[in-house]
């Protein structure tokens, strides 16, 4: 994937020409605008136009007119304490410790924001965030978010289905994959001053996965605008895949004919696959995925209730139940295709069915 890189200046160009005082003034105006837009009945198109307050500790703007989650798109039970969901993040652009993003992400400027659309599409271009959000009304999705490190959270996201957005740009018949990139700007993202990852952070989905009704673009969580550390202003949420697939602060969506590079796969191909579907049956080479540590539920780890069944039947939908991505039978039928043996057998799948020993040298 050698498309042109998006330089930070392309998305923050206005800021570059402003001096510090002007930036502050503009920030004040944006905040005011955001407050006004927060009045009941405000247009969804303004949803993420307001920049998020520093670190997300201040009250973020409430999103209005959000359609509540359908039964098919929600996990039952308690959601994770927002404090935990906003203070425990993997977002290496702001540092590699879990607490770094909450401390450092205030430097990210989320407005104005645009996303470059390119590759195998009829309508490429640089699209302002507001136009992207015009694709569909805001709705809520309550998904279990499972990290490859074996912790999990249940988060009520606000956003729009990815499929609705992608369809608007007219993918050509050659578009077999969708690739995403995060902003690169070491000034706003201090973690990028070190090459822990070959920036930009890259992720991707096969087109059928991207068009799946569960794949979601979030601009908010817990009814409010996304805090910067959670990937403001717009991020992906793919509930049946490990968290690292759910790329944050997206500035580019590229339609590709071949499988794109993805950051963790680049970094450690033997440990992180392209597909990376959540599967308690298949261990990470260095740790088990059979147990999950749900956030805040208790200080002790929960064994996935279905692990035993899963290993007996090799029924991959069990994986979804175990990680609680969706409980509704209707929804379960769908990810089955994606989670099925076909995807897992691909050599790139997070940990194919190969036994552990083969992967160690």
């Amino acid at each position: 994937m050698n498309g042109p890189k998006i330089r930070a200046s392309e998305v923050t160009d206005e800021g570059l020409f402003l001096n510090r005082r002007e930036v502050l003034r503009l920030g004040a105006v944006a905040t005011l605008g955001a407050a006004l837009a927060g009045c009941p009945g405000a247009d969804e198109a303004d949803a993420a136009a307001g920049s998020a307050p520093a670190g997300g500790s201040a009250e973020l703007r409430k999103l209005s007119g959000v359609k509540p989650a359908d039964a098919a798109f929600r996990v039952d039970g308690p959601t994770t304490d927002p404090k935990d969901a906003t203070r425990y993040n993997n977002f290496y652009e702001f540092g590699t410790d879990k607490t770094d993003p909450a401390e450092n992400a205030h430097t990210l400027r989320t407005s104005p924001w645009s996303v470059r659309i390119d590759g195998e599409v009829d309508k490429p271009g640089r699209v302002p965030l507001e136009d992207i959000l015009a694709a569909a009304p805001l709705e809520e999705r309550i998904y279990r978010f499972r990290c490859v490190e074996a912790w999990s959270m249940v988060v009520p996201w606000v956003g729009i289905p990815l499929a609705k957005v992608l369809a608007r740009f007219g993918p050509t018949s050659k578009a077999r994959y969708v690739a995403f990139e995060t902003l690169v700007d070491p000034e706003q993202m201090p973690g990028q001053r070190r090459n822990v990852i070959d920036w930009p952070y890259r992720e991707g989905l096969r087109i059928d996965e991207a068009m799946h009704p569960l794949a979601f673009l979030a601009v908010g969580m817990y009814g409010r605008v996304l805090p910067n550390q959670n990937g403001a202003p717009i991020r992906l949420v793919v509930p049946w895949k490990y968290g690292f697939k759910s790329i944050k602060s997206i500035v580019r969506i590229h339609f590709a004919a071949t499988q794109p590079r993805t950051s963790w796969n680049d970094l450690q191909p033997s440990e992180y696959g392209f597909f990376a579907n959540v599967n308690p049956e298949v261990d990470h080479p260095r740790w088990s995925q059979a147990r999950e540590r749900p956030s805040a539920a208790s200080a002790s780890r929960r064994r996935c209730p279905s692990t035993a069944t899963a290993s007996r039947s090799r029924d991959s939908t069990r994986a979804s139940i175990c990680v609680g991505t969706f409980d509704e039978p209707q929804a379960l039928d769908e990810p089955q295709a994606l989670d099925g043996p076909q995807a897992l057998d691909e050599p790139q799948a997070l940990a194919g069915p190969r036994p552990l020993k083969d992967r160690r040298r």
């Binding site: 969901a85 290496y92 490190e149 822990v196 970094l267 088990s288 147990r291 540590r293 780890r301």
Partner: protein, 202 residues
Amino acid sequence: MRGHRATDRLLRLGAIAVACGPALALAGRYAIEGLGADPIKDWTHTTGRWALRFLLISLAVTPIRRFAGLRGIAPLRRTFGLAAFAYALAHLLIWSVLDLGLEPAALVEDVTERPYVMAGMAAFAILATLAATSTRAAMKRLGARWVSLHRAVYAAALLALLHYFWQIKADLLPAWIHAAILTLLFAARLLWRFRRPASGTA
């Protein structure tokens, strides 16, 4: 003489206070901020890091004593070494009891299939042996062998470092900082030998 003993005791109490610092800080953070998103991982990492750090601090006592001429600090080697063992023990208990719930199958799987756990186990076995033989009585009983036995502390540090590197996902920098410190400590020891070929060990 009495003055000496008083400073000795003060020094040791100070070292014990320092050793308790990270545990108290952890407890304080939970009192203020609550459990957080992934407390088991947090406790595992904090105790693991401090086990390694106190091991390095313990190894730094002798070079500092020699190069700075601070003869009185020798007992701190033992205090900090025991602190390293205490944190390693907490680390092991958090992993085995809270993380794996003492489930035999899970324990066996982790120990037999994850090389980083094996390295940690080996490091812990050494630390436990050294802690058990850290008393005056053991010193007397073992005589000259005590010194060679306790040189295994370097192997423990190397194994702990290996264990640290082996479980990292992406960011190697913090581990390299620990590795650099251990290298410096080795270098200081070699330098001393080189300067004093006749003076033996310890």
